[in-house]
C-alpha cells in the first residue's frame, strides 16, 4: 500500500495536465469541506468540517485519501474464525440425522460470524479515522458484488471484503485479477463450475457487462470465448486453485484478438478496449459524483485511468480537487443509501450508535450489507426512497437521536388508535426490528442543549440554523427553515414545554430532540 501511495503522490503533477479545472485554493471553504466529507466519507461534525476547511484543499484531500488521523492508527482487526469444514468429508459415513445436525451447526456458526462482521464493518464506518477507506470498500462491495445468501460461506465473503479494503485504492487491473480468483466471486458467479468442455458463461458475461465494458461493447461470441479463457478455477479449503487439466488451453478469439489466453490475458485484452476506462470511470463517478455527471467528466477521467495504467489513487486525487466536483449541479444531488444515511447521523452527532442497531435498521430500509439484491449491486439513487422507506428513515433517525428501549418502541407505534389490532399484533408486526431491539436499549449521551451552548445561540432561528447545519448534509431550504422556526415559536407560545425566555439553556431537551427528529425526516436529510 505505502509504495502505492508514494507512486500516487508522484503522479499528482502529471494528473493536473488533463484539462480539468482544479478548485482554486481560496474557494475551498466549509461548504466544500462538508461536501468532501459527505461524498468521500459519511459526513462529520462541525469541528471536523472546520478543521478540514482550515487546512486548505490540498492538505484536506491528502488527509481524506490517507486517513483523517495523523497517527498510524489501524482499524480494529476482525479475526476470522475458521468454520471447520473438514467435518464434511467425514460426514458421508454418518447417518442422515447426524449429517443434518452437523450441517445445521456449521451453518449457524457461519451465519453468526457473518452477522458479527457486518456489525464490525458498520462500527468502522462510524468511527474509523479513515472513512474514505470504508466508503470505497462499500463502493466496491456494490461493484464486484457477492452475497452471503448465495455464497453461504462467511470466510469467503469476509476475505472479499478485505480485498476491497486493501486494494480498493490500488490498481483496477490488479483488483480485477484478484476478483477473478476470489473464492466468493468464483462461487457467486459460478466460475468454479466453468471448465473445459463444460463452460459456464456467467462470470464472463458479468465481467464484460457490469465490471468492464457495458452492454453493446462485446458480442455473445466474445462471452463464449472469454468463458473458455476463464476455465480451470475451483475453490478448495484454503482458497482458490487453478487446475490445469480443467483449463481450456486452446486458442480463443476475444474482441478481435487471438491467442491461447488464460484468465489474466483475457482481462488484459478486455481492459485494452477504449470502452473499458469509459465504463469504469462512469461507474465510479456515478457513485461519488451522483446520477448527473457534468459533461465531459466521464471521458476525462477515462483518459486519466488509461494514462495511469488503471491506478486509482490519482483518479480520486484529481476528483476531490476538481472544480466540477464542487459545482452546484453536483453538491447535494445524491440520495444517501440507508447505510450512508444512518452512519451519517452517528458521524454528524459525534457519537456512535451501536453497530448492530444500524445493521438492523439498514436491513429494513433495503440495504443488507453482504446481501445485495443481485449481481448489479444496489440500484441506488431514487430507488432508495419509497413511501414506506421514507417514513421509516425518519423513525429510525429518531431512535438514533433519542434512544429507545423496547417498551418505548411498541408504544410509539401503538399510540395511534389501531382499531382491532391489539398490542400483540403491533409487537409481532414490527418483527425483526423488535427481535433485534429486544432486551437492548440505546440512549445517546450527547445533549442537543450542549451543542447549542457551544454555538452560543439563543433565538429560535439560531437554534434551527445550528441544528440543521449539524445534522443535514446539504443546506436547509428556506421553506423548511421557516416552518421549523414557526414550530419552535409555536411550542414556545403554547408554553407546554416550559420554553420560557429563549435562552438555550432553558429549552427542554425533549423539544430539541423533537426538532432534530423533524430535521432528519426532511427531504433535505436524504441528500448529500
Amino acid at each position: 500500500m505505502s509504495s502505492m501511495r508514494i507512486i500516487g503522490l508522484l503522479l499528482i503533477a502529471s494528473t493536473m495536465a488533463f484539462g480539468q479545472k482544479q478548485l482554486p485554493e481560496d474557494s475551498f471553504g466549509e461548504p466544500e469541506a462538508r461536501h468532501l466529507l459527505n461524498r468521500a466519507g459519511f459526513g462529520g461534525t462541525p469541528d471536523e468540517i472546520k478543521s478540514l476547511s482550515d487546512m486548505g484543499l490540498k492538505k484536506a484531500v491528502q488527509l481524506i485519501l490517507h486517513g483523517l488521523s495523523t497517527s498510524e492508527s489501524s482499524p480494529t482487526a476482525f479475526d476470522i474464525a475458521m468454520v471447520d469444514r473438514s467435518e464434511r468429508r467425514r460426514m458421508r459415513s454418518l447417518p442422515q440425522k447426524e449429517r443434518q445436525k452437523i450441517r445445521q451447526q456449521m451453518r449457524q456458526v457461519d451465519r453468526r460470524q457473518m452477522a458479527r462482521y457486518r456489525t464490525w464493518w458498520v462500527e468502522q464506518m462510524l468511527a474509523s479515522p479513515n472513512p474514505f477507506q470504508e466508503k470505497l470498500t462499500l463502493f466496491w462491495h456494490g461493484y464486484f458484488t457477492s452475497s452471503f445468501r448465495a455464497v453461504r460461506n462467511s470466510e469467503h465473503i469476509i476475505n472479499q471484503n478485505k480485498l476491497f479494503r486493501e486494494e480498493g485504492l490500488g490498481n483496477f487491473r490488479t483488483l480485477l485479477r484478484h476478483i477473478a480468483r476470489d473464492p466468493a466471486m468464483l462461487r457467486y458467479l459460478d466460475n468454479d463450475k466453468n471448465h473445459k468442455g463444460a463452460p459456464n458463461e456467467n462470470f464472463a458475461r458479468e465481467v464484460m457487462e457490469l465490471f468492464t465494458l457495458g452492454e453493446g461493447n462485446y458480442t455473445e461470441e466474445d462471452i463464449k470465448e472469454t468463458a473458455r479463457a476463464f476455465t480451470g478455477w475451483i475453490n478448495r479449503p484454503g482458497g482458490a486453485r487453478f487446475m490445469l487439466r480443467r483449463h481450456d488451453r486452446g486458442e480463443k478469439r476475444i474482441l478481435g484478438r487471438k491467442g491461447r489466453y488464460g484468465v489474466d490475458d483475457a482481462l488484459d485484452v478486455i481492459l485494452e478496449r477504449s470502452a473499458a476506462p469509459l465504463w469504469v470511470s462512469k461507474r465510479i463517478l456515478r457513485y461519488f459524483v451522483g446520477s448527473e455527471i457534468p459533461d465531459g467528466m466521464v471521458k476525462r477521467y477515462a483518459r486519466l485511468l488509461r494514462k495511469n495504467d488503471w491506478d486509482l489513487l490519482p483518479f480520486f486525487e484529481t476528483l476531490f480537487s476538481d472544480a466540477q466536483f464542487y459545482s452546484p449541479l453536483v453538491v447535494g444531488n445524491r440520495i444517501s443509501s440507508p447505510i450512508e444515511f444512518l452512519v451519517g447521523i452517528g458521524r454528524r452527532l459525534g457519537e456512535s450508535p451501536p453497530g448492530w442497531l444500524i445493521v438492523t435498521f439498514s436491513d429494513q430500509l433495503g440495504q443488507s450489507l453482504m446481501d445485495p439484491p443481485n449481481v448489479k449491486g444496489w440500484e441506488g439513487g431514487d430507488a432508495w426512497i419509497t413511501t414506506s422507506s421514507f417514513m421509516q428513515r425518519g423513525n429510525f433517525a429518531r431512535y438514533l437521536i433519542e434512544g429507545f428501549d423496547r417498551r418505548s418502541v411498541v408504544a410509539d407505534f401503538a399510540s395511534d388508535e389501531t382499531g382491532k389490532m391489539d398490542m400483540k399484533q403491533v409487537r409481532s408486526g414490527l418483527g425483526p426490528m423488535m427481535r433485534a431491539m429486544r432486551q437492548r436499549r440505546w440512549h445517546p449521551e450527547v445533549r442537543m442543549r450542549e451543542l447549542l451552548l457551544e454555538a452560543k445561540v439563543t433565538s429560535s432561528a439560531g437554534i434551527v440554523n445550528v441544528l440543521c447545519q449539524r445534522f443535514l448534509g446539504v443546506p436547509v431550504t428556506e421553506d423548511a427553515r421557516r416552518s421549523l422556526i414557526a414550530f419552535l415559536e409555536n411550542e414556545k407560545k403554547s408554553g407546554k414545554s416550559r420554553f420560557r425566555k429563549a435562552r438555550a439553556l432553558e429549552v427542554p431537551e425533549d423539544l430539541l430532540r423533537r426538532l432534530v427528529h423533524l430535521i432528519l425526516s426532511l427531504p433535505e436529510a436524504q441528500l448529500v
Binding site: 448527473e292 440520495i335 431514487d382 425518519g394 388508535e417 409481532s428 421553506d479 414557526a486 423533537r514
Partner: protein, 417 residues
C-alpha cells in the same frame, strides 16, 4: 363498502389538510385523478407465497397411485383420510374449507408446475419464480412489477402494490410502482406527533419548483431530487393515514383462526373492503421446508392455510368483494418423491399452484406429474408456471404476457369467460 367520492374527501380533510392550509394544494385535476384511482379496482390479485418448498404430493394427494404409498412410508396420507377429488387424487385431510371451495367451482388446481433445468436452492429457485425468467434477479425486475409498470404506467397512486411483511419479494421489484410494504398498518407510519407531521408537510411544500421555474424536468441536481422527495413525503403521509384509517374502520365478517397468516389476510381483507385502490397484494407463509418430521409439520401448516384462506374468502364474500379478488398460491419447488431418513422430504422440483376466487375456472388444470417417470428422483414438471402467469397477466391483471415474460407462453384457461 367502496369508498365513494364523498368519503375520500373526508379522508382528504384529515390527510391532505395540512397541505391545503399551507397553500400548496394539489391541482384540481390531480385530486380528481387520485379520487378516480381510489375507487376499488375491478380485478385484484392476492399472491400468497408458501416459502420453503411445499410438498405437492401431501397437498394434492395421488392416493390411488401405488408409487405414492411405496415412496412415502412414514408421511403417507391414508386413502380413507384424503378429501377426494376423483378416483386418483384428493386434498390433504386438513384442507376442508378448500375442498368445499373446490366443490363449488372456486378453486383451480394447476398440477405439476415448474420450469426447465430446475434449481433446488431455495433462493435461486424463488428468484426464477419471482422474475418469471431463468436468469432470476439478474433479469432486472420482478414479474409483478413489470406487469404493473407496463399496464398502468400513468397511475400516480402510491398504493398500487402492497406487500404485507418485512421483506418485499423480488417479484414486486419495479421501476415505477414500487411496493408499499408493512407488516401491520399500525407500523406503516411516521412516529412523530400529528402536529409534527403537519410541520413536516409545511417544510416540504409541493410544486415549489414548478411554480418558480417551470416543469420539474428542467430541474437538475439538488432541486430535482428535492422536488421528487417532497412529493413522496406527501404521498407517504397520505398513504399511511389512508391505510391506517381503513384498517381501523374494518370489521371482519368472518371468524379468522389465530395465526400469522390469518392476521395478514385479515389486513388484506381490511384494505380491499375498505375500498383501497391496490391491485396487487402480496404475502408470505413460511415453514414449508420440511426436511424432518414432515407429516406433523405439514399437517399443521395445512390447518393454518385452510383456516385462514377459508375465512378470507368468506369475509370477502360477506363484504360483496369476492368477485373482484383472485388469490394465487405458489411455492419455490415441490419436494422429493422418496422420503429421506428423518421422516422428512428433501428439496424437489414440480408442485401444484392454486387459484382461488369467484371468477376462477375451478377444477383441475395441467397434468399430474408421473410418480414413476422421474428425473433424479424428482417429479418432472408438466406445466410451466409462466403459463399460469400468462393467464393472470392477460386475463386478470390486464396486460400482455409476452411483453412481461419476454416470450409467448401457452396461456391456460384459468378464468371464466
Amino acid at each position: 363498502m367502496t369508498i365513494n367520492r364523498r368519503k375520500f374527501m373526508t379522508y382528504s380533510a384529515g390527510t391532505l389538510g395540512a397541505l391545503a392550509l399551507s397553500n400548496n394544494i394539489l391541482s384540481a385535476a390531480e385530486l380528481n385523478k387520485l379520487q378516480e384511482e381510489t375507487d376499488t379496482p375491478q380485478n385484484i390479485l392476492v399472491i400468497l407465497q408458501l416459502s420453503g418448498g411445499n410438498d405437492g404430493l401431501s397437498t394434492v394427494v395421488p392416493y390411488a397411485d401405488d408409487a405414492y404409498g411405496r415412496a412415502r412410508s412414514s408421511t403417507r396420507i391414508a386413502p380413507s383420510q384424503v378429501l377426494k377429488i376423483d378416483n386418483y387424487r384428493g386434498l390433504h385431510p386438513n384442507l376442508k374449507g378448500l375442498h368445499d371451495l373446490y366443490g363449488s367451482g372456486k378453486l383451480a388446481i394447476i398440477e405439476g408446475t415448474g420450469y426447465p433445468d430446475p434449481v433446488r436452492s431455495h433462493f435461486k429457485s424463488l428468484d426464477i419464480w419471482h422474475a418469471g425468467n431463468s436468469r432470476g434477479r439478474n433479469a432486472g425486475y420482478g414479474w409483478v412489477g413489470q406487469t404493473i409498470d407496463k399496464s398502468y404506467p400513468d397511475i400516480r397512486d402510491p398504493n398500487v402494490v402492497v406487500h404485507i411483511g418485512n421483506k418485499t419479494p423480488f417479484s414486486l421489484n419495479a421501476a415505477i410502482h414500487k411496493p408499499v410494504a408493512f407488516t401491520t398498518p399500525a407500523a406503516y407510519r411516521w412516529i412523530g406527533a400529528e402536529k409534527d407531521a403537519a410541520t413536516l408537510q409545511k417544510s416540504a411544500p409541493l410544486c415549489e419548483h414548478e411554480k418558480q421555474s417551470g416543469t420539474p424536468k428542467s430541474a437538475s441536481g439538488r432541486d430535482r431530487a428535492l422536488a421528487r422527495l417532497r412529493r413522496i413525503l406527501h404521498e407517504a403521509q397520505a398513504s399511511s393515514s389512508q391505510i391506517r384509517q381503513v384498517a381501523k374502520n374494518y370489521s371482519p365478517k368472518a371468524k379468522y383462526p389465530r395465526s400469522g397468516l390469518s392476521a395478514s389476510l385479515a389486513t388484506v381483507a381490511a384494505l380491499i373492503t375498505g375500498g383501497m385502490s391496490t391491485r396487487i397484494y402480496s404475502l408470505e407463509m413460511t415453514g414449508f421446508d420440511t426436511h424432518t418430521n414432515h407429516r406433523n409439520k405439514h399437517d399443521r401448516l395445512m390447518t393454518q392455510l385452510d383456516g385462514a384462506l377459508s375465512a378470507f374468502q368468506k369475509d370477502l364474500q360477506a363484504h360483496g368483494k369476492s368477485g373482484s379478488v383472485t388469490t394465487m398460491l405458489f411455492s419455490e419447488f415441490g419436494r422429493r418423491v422418496q422420503e429421506n431418513g428423518s421422516q422428512g422430504l428433501d428439496h424437489g422440483v414440480a408442485g401444484p399452484m392454486f387459484l382461488l376466487g369467484d371468477k376462477v375456472k375451478g377444477g383441475l388444470h395441467g397434468k399430474h406429474p408421473s410418480l414413476t417417470k422421474l428425473d433424479k428422483g424428482d417429479l418432472i414438471h408438466t406445466t410451466d408456471f409462466r403459463q399460469v402467469y400468462a393467464s393472470l397477466i392477460d386475463n386478470w391483471i390486464g396486460g400482455n404476457h409476452a411483453q412481461v415474460l419476454g416470450k409467448n407462453y401457452k396461456s391456460l384457461p384459468l378464468f371464466q369467460s
